[in-house]
């Protein structure tokens, strides 16, 4: 898109009135989205998004500007704008741009742009049919397919120059089942940092059936009980809990501003010694994976908590600069319209050595979570919630009846301290994580774990 000399010139304009650091992010993104509902392919959408953002950091101040005009003149214009906002001491250093080696290389076998759109539509229709064939009570099926090919050029005043291409493909299936007055839903999704080959590995028919079976089964589920009880989370439930209970709180911007309960606790015991938490942006094909983050730092694997001891936070460049250390490759942004901030990639609790079946057998009474939905956390006090999309009662060490409509709530550090069983399995789920109005693709994973007590947000019988 741009050569190094041009971008170096733009960065120098951005720094002409001063500044400690400047960077530029140029993006060209092609998207496809197909949505099917009520048995019909309702929306077929293609998008072309182009733009660039320039940032100047001066002390604690960050100035940011973006434009859709990605000609060299367009870039110079916004460089002037941010350059004016950051006026102060000007340590005019000269720099030249150089490529940065990556820690790994993703491979895209079938780029979505090379796959005929008819094939994508056929896939969506196949998922719809499979879900509808499960049960007569399936009343509505929504299938959403999306792919993105994003080309980025990133350069900064430290001399970094990176050109990267990210390809992501995903599918979501949402099923509504109804019986009389009762309506329930089932949701499944799959996606990765990969092309259309995703569907060589993921069987959409099985995925659709799974969503439909859950929606139908939920019709007969009873409301979840209310109050404190032991909770077992199965590996296949996904990783929303780790994402909310400690992931966000370990993002360095929140830590630096003391907006996290984990601030100032490096080297301290913050979780049970059964708990090791890792963020790894280099896992082949995972939805949150990256070759480079959105600041041109090579993605890496970071051990956040090791056997209960807090080892590291997740850093972008700004937070790393402030603490005199290196970015961990977690500086991410939704698009050129946003400045980068520390974000998770693929975050997981490392497997332990207990047989998952034994964990359930060892639990006399409690709630078994087989699928987690969305969640949220207040990092300042550590309170978090997540939705149970599929849950069962555990009675005398056996899986009992299905229950519906429960949110689990707890305090992050406390929940991680009291975890008393960690299974030997590991299950991933994908999601779009929101923070400061920016959504980025992530994945999370956990082994089967047991928490001796959490508050289950259920319903009490009328008194």
């Amino acid at each position: 898109m741009f050569n190094k000399e041009d971008l170096a010139e733009v960065l120098k304009i951005a720094l002409q009135n001063g500044g400690d650091f400047a960077d530029i992010f140029v993006e060209q993104k092609k998207t496809t989205a197909i949505s099917l509902e009520a048995g019909k392919v309702e929306r077929v959408s293609s998008g072309l998004d182009v733009g660039a953002g320039i940032r100047v950091i001066l002390g604690d101040n960050t100035s940011y500007a973006h434009t859709n005009d990605i000609t060299i003149d367009g870039l110079k214009k916004i460089a002037e704008v941010v350059g004016k906002a950051a006026t102060g001491k000007a340590p005019r250093r000269d720099f030249s741009l150089m490529e940065v080696p990556a820690n790994w290389q993703p491979s895209y076998k079938k780029k979505p742009s090379t796959v005929p759109i008819e094939e994508k539509v056929a896939l969506v229709e196949k998922a719809n049919k499979a879900a509808r064939d499960v049960d007569w009570r399936v009343k509505q099926v929504t299938v959403g397919y999306g792919d993105v090919e994003q080309k980025v050029t990133i350069a900064n005043s430290e001399g970094t120059f990176v050109e990267d291409e990210r390809v992501r493909t995903r599918i979501i299936i949402n099923v509504v089942a109804q019986d009389g007055d009762v309506i329930q839903t089932g949701f499944e999704s799959a996606g990765g940092l990969k092309g259309f080959e995703l569907f060589d590995e993921v069987d959409v028919v099985e995925l659709a059936r799974k969503a439909a079976r859950r929606a139908v089964a939920m019709l007969e589920a009873k409301p979840a009980p209310a109050g404190k009880m032991p909770v077992v989370m199965a590996a296949e439930a996904g990783g929303t809990m780790v994402h909310e209970a400690c992931g966000h709180g370990l993002e360095a911007d929140l830590v630096r501003k003391k907006l996290s309960v984990y601030a100032g606790k490096l080297g301290q015991k913050v979780a049970s010694e059964l708990i090791t938490v890792i963020d790894d942006g280099t896992r082949e094909g995972k939805y949150g994976s990256l070759q480079y983050d959105d600041e041109g730092t090579p993605a890496s694997k970071t051990v956040l908590i090791e056997k209960g001891i807090l080892k590291s936070y997740m850093y972008d460049k700004f937070s790393a600069m402030k603490e005199g250390r290196q970015s961990t490759g977690n500086g991410r942004r939704q698009s050129y319209q946003h400045r980068p901030i520390p974000r998770m990639t693929n975050t997981y609790i490392a497997p332990g050595d207990t047989d998952p079946q034994e964990i359930i057998a060892d639990t006399e009474r409690g709630l078994l979570v087989m699928k987690m939905g969305g969640g949220q956390v207040n990092t300042t006090n550590g309170e978090f919630v997540f939705d149970v999309a599929e849950g069962y009662l555990i009675e005398n060490g056996k899986v009992g009846p299905m229950v519906r409509g429960a949110t689990l709530t707890g305090n992050g550090p406390r929940v991680l301290q009291i975890v008393d069983k960690v299974g030997s399995d590991l299950g991933f789920a994908i999601g779009t994580c929101g923070k400061d109005g920016q959504g980025v693709p992530v994945s999370d994973a956990q082994p089967t774990i047991r928490i001796p007590e959490m508050v289950v947000g259920g319903i009490l019988e009328e008194d």
Binding site: K40, V41, E42, R43, V44, S45, S46, G47, L48, D49, V50, D60, N61, T62, S63, Y64, A65, H66, T67, N68, I78, V81, A85, I117, E118, V121, Q140, V182, T185, A224, G227, K228, K257, K258, L259, Q337, R339, G374, Q376, V377, N378, T380, N381, E383, F384, V385, F386, D387, R404, G405, A406, T407, T409, V455, V456, G457, G458, I459, L460, E462
Partner: protein, 448 residues
Amino acid sequence: MFTELTKLGEETVQKAMKQGADEAESFIMFDKELIIEVADQEVENMKVAETRGLGMRVIKDGRMGFAYTADLTANGLDFVVKQALDNAKIAAQDEFNRLPQPGDDKYPQLDIYDPAIEQIPEEKKIQLAKDIERYAREYDRRVKITERCGYQDALYHVAIVNSNGINQEYRGAYCGAYAFLVAQEGDEQQTGFGLQYRLKFDQLDPKQVGEEGAEKAVRMLGAKEIGTQRATIVLDPYVATNFLGVIAPALSAEAVQKGKSLFAGKVGQQVGSSLLTIIDDGAMEGAVVSAPMDGEGVPAGKTVLIEKGKLKGFMHNTYTAAKDGVTSTGNGIRASFKGTPEVGTTNFYIAPGNTSREKLLREVDKGLYITEVMGMHTANPISGDFSVGASGLWIEKGEFVQPVKGIAIAGNIKDLLNSIDCIGTDLTFFVGKGSPTIRISRMTISGS
């Protein structure tokens, strides 16, 4: 008003028609945004942004295709026309796919563009952001951390051109002030926020925003858990607007037509307490989401959805209206040029009741005033089931006696609407959603 935007719209629509579209529409949006955030009386973040883009819908043989571009050079415009037409070949045929016709209804005249917002010098805006923080800190010395505190404004310019003869353009601007703060005492930290979005700069009140954020954070210090029980619940206006976010999709005709609304087939029936009236008003005076038209050029207007507990009707865009044989309510909403106009809300609110907030609270013998809910996005708008984390203030004999944390509240929207036993006079808007304080007679609180 015929500017560059209209020209882009006309050119692309003509091009699509020439290439074989039966109907074509271009939606063009240019916007400018400024964000200034301060912390400890210094500017921490400043953002100056311009976004431009065009979204195109075409209909061919009853099939609709869509494409968008942020590249407005010949390359991008060729892409958008070709891609929209190509996509129309694959989408399903649907006799109700159509674009609006120019109608007899007039576009409301709204005072939504105050040029002063752009003209006010940056220093004044920075000062306003700093003032918010200063008022917050002065309110209580335990307010120690500024998570985000700032000023924001946006100017936008929209054109909608379609091959049926709609050719409209309008401009708007808004500004906002916000504070997200942390109060500290010993090891404990609690958060609070205040925010205001207005159509005029001088309507922003930094003192009110700062003090509101500070008060909300400080009053949560010392929060404790409580036991599982059923009790009276009072929803703070902000929390009530969170619930409105779950109710809104169920009041869209699209959800009804697809069997995904808990209100389907209930028009004319009582679906909530007789105290409850819910309105969507795209032409509301002084409201930030007001505009003369929706995202497909249909005049904006007021739609009463629930009146005194009785379901009156649903929100429509052109497609759902055609399907039901009615007229669009002007609720074809676009999040940006990147999306198609889907049924959505404008200024969506619960009408105020006639009990003051003070009296509403004074009448509570024992209950919980909910100030924050977490995980509302996990509520199910189709079944109406919700279960959310919550915190708030315990009420005894009409007085706040103890902050409460770590609880969950659960139920079904249908029951919640039926159990409303008092609505306050204090209608408060949080951008596009508004509510007064709402009292619910009884609900399950899950605690320890």
